[in-house]
C-alpha cells in the first residue's frame, strides 16, 4: 500500500484542467513544495475526490466536499483575477502566497459567501493527509513508517532502535531559532 503511493499516481479524474492547475498551485503552497515538488499531492487529492472518500462529515455552511473544492477554487481564481488579472495558477508566487494568507486571516468571516475558516480546514485537511502519508515526508520528519510485525523494543526518552538515526542537531529547534 505504501509503495503504491510512490509509484506514478493516476491521471486526473475529478478536477477539470483549469481546476487542476489552480489546485496544484494551492496544494503545493500549503505543503511548502512550490519550489521543489516531493509528493504528488494534487494527484492524491484528485483520486480521493474522484472516489468520494470524504472524512464522513461536512460543515453545515459548506456543500459536500467535492462541490466545496470546486467552489473554493473558483473563488481563489476570482481573487487572483481581481488582484493580478490572471488565474491563481498563473499569478506570481508571492501574490499566490499573499492571496492564501488573506483567506487564512479572514478567520471565521465570510469569503465569497463561504466561511473562510471552514474552507481553510478543508484545504489543509486534504493537503496534509496526502502529504504526510508519503514515505518521503516521513523521512523528512524522522518517522519510520509501518511497524508490523517488527514493533519497537527500546521505548523511552532518548532510546533508539538499532535502525533509528538520532537527530544530528537535537537542540536546533528551527522554529525557536527563526523567531
Amino acid at each position: 500500500m505504501v509503495t503504491a503511493r510512490c509509484e506514478q499516481p493516476p491521471q486526473i479524474k475529478f478536477f477539470t484542467a483549469a481546476e487542476a492547475a489552480c489546485a496544484e498551485a494551492l496544494l503545493d503552497h500549503l505543503t511548502g513544495q512550490s519550489d521543489k515538488p516531493m509528493v504528488p499531492v494534487l494527484r492524491m487529492v484528485d483520486a480521493r475526490l474522484a472516489a468520494d472518500e470524504t472524512d464522513g462529515w461536512r460543515y453545515a455552511d459548506l456543500p459536500e466536499d467535492a462541490q466545496a473544492w470546486r467552489d473554493s477554487l473558483a473563488c481563489l481564481d476570482a481573487d487572483a483575477n481581481l488582484r493580478c488579472g490572471c488565474g491563481f495558477a498563473d499569478a506570481a508566487e508571492a501574490e499566490q502566497m499573499a492571496l492564501l494568507q488573506a483567506v487564512l486571516d479572514r478567520g471565521s468571516e465570510s469569503w465569497h459567501g463561504l466561511p473562510a475558516a471552514h474552507v481553510w480546514s478543508l484545504w489543509t485537511r486534504y493537503a496534509t493527509t496526502a502529504f504526510y502519508s508519503h514515505p518521503s515526508a516521513w523521512a523528512e520528519i524522522g518517522f519510520p513508517g509501518p511497524a508490523y510485525p517488527r514493533g519497537y523494543k527500546n521505548i523511552g526518552v532518548g532510546k533508539l532502535e538499532p535502525f533509528e538515526v538520532p537527530d544530528a542537531e537535537p537542540s536546533d529547534d528551527p522554529v525557536r531559532e527563526g523567531t
Binding site: 500500500m1 461536512r58 460543515y59 493527509t129 502519508s133 520528519i141 524522522g142 508490523y148 537535537p170 529547534d173
Partner: protein, 546 residues
C-alpha cells in the same frame, strides 16, 4: 483468569499460530432466516451490541446482530498506516452545525464488527460515583436512574474480559486492575516527570491491552498504531473480546447489512423486527425484541427514520427526547518540545493518566472537571495539530521536521449535557435515500472554562518536564447521549435497564443512553451498561416478566 474463561472464552477461541482470525468459527456461524422470529435482534456490533450479543447467546437466546460495516479480519484488512486506515471510520455523509461543530469520522465514529473500539486508543477508565448524580451534587448535568453501585460488578467483569492493565487506581471508587501496568515510552515518561515536579498524581493505565499473553492473544509489540486497528490482537475490541464467544454459543453476526427502520405493529405498539439493506436488497428480520446499538449519531437517526403513524415524530419520540443531550468531551491537545528525542509514536498511545482534576473543585468558578492522558499523534494527525497554529507551507514543514522532539498530552473535559446539542434529520439523503444525521453542538460557559483550565494544567506539566515551547489544538473526543436513560419518559428515551419508555420490547444498549459522561473514555462504561442490561433481560425472561 479461570473465572473469565468460564464466562467468556473469546481469547481462547482465537488462533495461536500467528494469525488473528478464527475463520472456522465464522464459516460455521449459525445463520437465521429472515422469517425466523429471533428472541432479539441487535442493530450494530460495537461496544454495546457485541457484549449484549455474547451474554444473551450464552444464556441460550436466539440472537443476531446486524452490522452496517464489514466483519474485520486484522490480518487482511488492517495496516500500520494512517491514511490506509480510512475504511475503519464511519464515512457516510453527516452534517455538523451549531456554534462549535464537532468533526466526526476518524475522531469518534467506527464501522464494522468491533465498532469504534477497533480504532479507540484503548483507555478504559471507570466513571466516578459522582458522575451518576451531578445534578444533585453540583447542580449541573443530570442524575442517572441507576447509581455507581449498580454498575460496579459489571465494570469488574469487563475489566477482566478485555483485560485491563494499570496501576492501582486511587480516584473515584479506588480499585485495582487484573494486569500490571505496561512499561512507558518517551511520551509517558515526560508526563510522569512533569507530574512529579508539580505534585500531581499520575498513574500508568488503565489500558485495555493485556501486559502478557491472554488466552491465545499475544503480548503487545508497542508498534504505536492502536488507532489504526490492532493487527496483533493485543488491544481489546469486541471483535476479539466478545464476538468469538458469541459465535461459539450460536449467535449470528450479519455484517455488511444496514438497518434502515425498526418496524412497530401499530395495533399492539410493539416492535416486530427491522428492515435492512444487504447487497442492495431490502429485507426484513423478524424478532420478538429489538435492541439498537448504533451509537450516539446513528441510534437517534434510526429512531427518527423509523417514524410511523403511531410515532409521527420518530420512534420513541413522543416527548421530543430522541437525539437530545448528546455530549462530546472537550479534548484540547497540548504538545511540548524537548531537545531530547521523545519519539512519541513508539509504544501504545495510551500510557499515563491523571484524574486529580476530575471532581468539582469548590475553589474554581466552574463545575465538574477534566482528566489528562497521553496522546501520541502520528504524522497526519500531528500535522493537523501544527496546522491549527496557523502554520502552512514552509513553516509547517519546518515545525513538522522536529516531530521526534515533541511530547503530547490530551485532556478530556466533562462537557455538560444540553438539550439543544442534538441529532436531527437533514434534508440531504445518503446513497440509500435515507435522510442523513445533522448534529448541532454548542458549548456553554462551563465547558469553555474547563477547556481553559485543562490547557493551563497541561502547559504547566510540559514546562515542568522541561519543554521549551508548548502548542495546543482544540479538539473534541468521544460521543455519548442522544437517547439517554432517565427516570421518566419526559426526560429521556429509556429507563435504567435500557428499555424504551414508549415501546416495551425496544431497547437501546450503547453509549447513547448515558445521561452524563464524566471525564472518562466511554468504552468500558458502554460495555458495563450493556452487560447489566443483558443480565436484566435474562433475569426477566427467567421470571417471565420480560
Amino acid at each position: 483468569m479461570r473465572g473469565v474463561r468460564a464466562r467468556n472464552e473469546s481469547a481462547w477461541l482465537l488462533p495461536n499460530d500467528g494469525t488473528r482470525t478464527n475463520h472456522r468459527l465464522r464459516r460455521d456461524m449459525r445463520g437465521f432466516a429472515d422469517d425466523d422470529e429471533l428472541d432479539l435482534v441487535i442493530v450494530g456490533c460495537g461496544a454495546g451490541g457485541s457484549v449484549l450479543l455474547q451474554r444473551l447467546a450464552r444464556a441460550g437466546w436466539r440472537v443476531a446482530a446486524i452490522e452496517a460495516g464489514p466483519f474485520w479480519d486484522p490480518d487482511a484488512d488492517w495496516v500500520s498506516d494512517e491514511a490506509g486506515s480510512h475504511h475503519l471510520y464511519w464515512t457516510e455523509p453527516r452534517v455538523i452545525a451549531g456554534t462549535d461543530p464537532v468533526p466526526m469520522g476518524s475522531n469518534n465514529s467506527g464501522r464494522g464488527v468491533g465498532g469504534s473500539m477497533v480504532h479507540y486508543a484503548g483507555y478504559t477508565p471507570r466513571l466516578h460515583p459522582s458522575d451518576f448524580a451531578t445534578h444533585s451534587l453540583d447542580g449541573v448535568g443530570a442524575d442517572w436512574p441507576i447509581g455507581y453501585a449498580q454498575l460496579r460488578r459489571y465494570y469488574e467483569q469487563i475489566e477482566q474480559e478485555l483485560p485491563v492493565a494499570g496501576e492501582h487506581w486511587p480516584w473515584g471508587d479506588p480499585h485495582g486492575y487484573p494486569y500490571r501496568p505496561h512499561p512507558v515510552g518517551g511520551n509517558g515518561e515526560i508526563f510522569l516527570r512533569g507530574a512529579r515536579k508539580l505534585g500531581i498524581t499520575a498513574k500508568v493505565g488503565p489500558v485495555a491491552i493485556a501486559n502478557g499473553r491472554f488466552g491465545n492473544r499475544p503480548h503487545c509489540i508497542y508498534r504505536g498504531f492502536c488507532l489504526q486497528g490492532c493487527k496483533v490482537n493485543a488491544k481489546a475490541s469486541p471483535l476479539i473480546t466478545h464476538i468469538p464467544d458469541a459465535l461459539a454459543n450460536g449467535a449470528e453476526v450479519r455484517a455488511d447489512a444496514m438497518v434502515t427502520r425498526v418496524a412497530v405493529d401499530e395495533r399492539t405498539g410493539r416492535a416486530t423486527g427491522v428492515y435492512y439493506l444487504r447487497d442492495g436488497t431490502e429485507r426484513f428480520q423478524r424478532a420478538s425484541m429489538v435492541a439498537i446499538a448504533g451509537y450516539s449519531i446513528e441510534t437517534p437517526r434510526l429512531l427518527l427514520n423509523s417514524a410511523c403513524s403511531r410515532f409521527p415524530d420518530g420512534l420513541a419520540n413522543d416527548f421530543d427526547q430522541v437525539g437530545r443531550y448528546l455530549m462530546v468531551q472537550g479534548a484540547p491537545q497540548t504538545a511540548g518540545r524537548f531537545d531530547a528525542e521523545v519519539r512519541m509514536y513508539k509504544a501504545p498511545p495510551p500510557e499515563v493518566s491523571s484524574e486529580d482534576f476530575y471532581e468539582t473543585d469548590p475553589a474554581q468558578d466552574y463545575k465538574r472537571g477534566f482528566a489528562i492522558q497521553n496522546v501520541s499523534p502520528l504524522p497526519i494527525t500531528w500535522a493537523e495539530h501544527v496546522a491549527a497554529q496557523g502554520h502552512w507551507g514552509r513553516g509547517l514543514r519546518e515545525y513538522m521536521s522536529d516531530y521526534v522532539h515533541w511530547a503530547c498530552l490530551g485532556a478530556l473535559c466533562e462537557f455538560l449535557p444540553r438539550p439543544e446539542n442534538r441529532v436531527t434529520l437533514a434534508e440531504e439523503k445518503d446513497r440509500y435515500g435515507l435522510p442523513v444525521a445533522r448534529f448541532a453542538y454548542s458549548q456553554c460557559d462551563n465547558d469553555r472554562a474547563l477547556v481553559r483550565a485543562a490547557q493551563a494544567v497541561m502547559e504547566d506539566l510540559l514546562h515542568a518536564a522541561g519543554a521549551d515551547e508548548v502548542i495546543t489544538i482544540q479538539r473534541y473526543a468521544h460521543l455519548v447521549g442522544g437517547a439517554r436513560m432517565a427516570s421518566d419518559e419526559r426526560h429521556g428515551v429509556v429507563d435504567g435497564r435500557c428499555r424504551s419508555f414508549a415501546v416495551p420490547n425496544l431497547y437501546v444498549t450503547d453509549g447513547s443512553v448515558l445521561p452524563t459522561q464524566g471525564s472518562a473514555n466511554p468504552a468500558l462504561t458502554i460495555m458495563a451498561v450493556a452487560a447489566r442490561a443483558a443480565d436484566q433481560l435474562i433475569e426477566g425472561a427467567r421470571s417471565g416478566s420480560g
